[in-house]
Symmetry: C2
Subunit: 97 residues, 2 copies
Amino acid sequence: MTTEKQQPDVIFVGNKPPMSYVLAIITAFSTGDIKDITLKARGQAITTAVDVAEIARSRFIKELKVTKIAIGTTEMPPREGENKARMVSTIEITLVK
Amino acid sequence: MTTEKQQPDVIFVGNKPPMSYVLAIITAFSTGDIKDITLKARGQAITTAVDVAEIARSRFIKELKVTKIAIGTTEMPPREGENKARMVSTIEITLVK
């Protein structure tokens, strides 16, 4: 193992099943020098991000702590055929081992 | 106006459109002695709760602040035809004016 930090400390949560992201968290914590990981999600994936944090904490990494949760709004480009930008909610959940 | 506290300071967010809950927040803050309101949601409504907080803050009550966000897990009774309890994620968002 090199001392170079290669693992990302941000995981973008999208529309895969929650367990894909839980696995990414477990892998990142077990292979790197990482002490904290931030989950980022927007729109419907916000619920998935909360599921991921809860599953990781309750079933896999008992010492995991949620140290910060922030919500916000971001502008997304209009959908095809529409001409108005959409405002989408976001969440960031920071997990520390 | 009496000094009795009649407005609820918890709003349960479900599957209505976000604006219904935004309106409930505006009404609660404008009619009562309430300084803070907690939005509670579970499952897919978590995304709606975040939308509600963001819409209320960015479009209607500029001085609104998110002072606390907590996530958790709760057990729900099994769906009809199933016999296993389901674990569902929850969120609580506290807003202070």
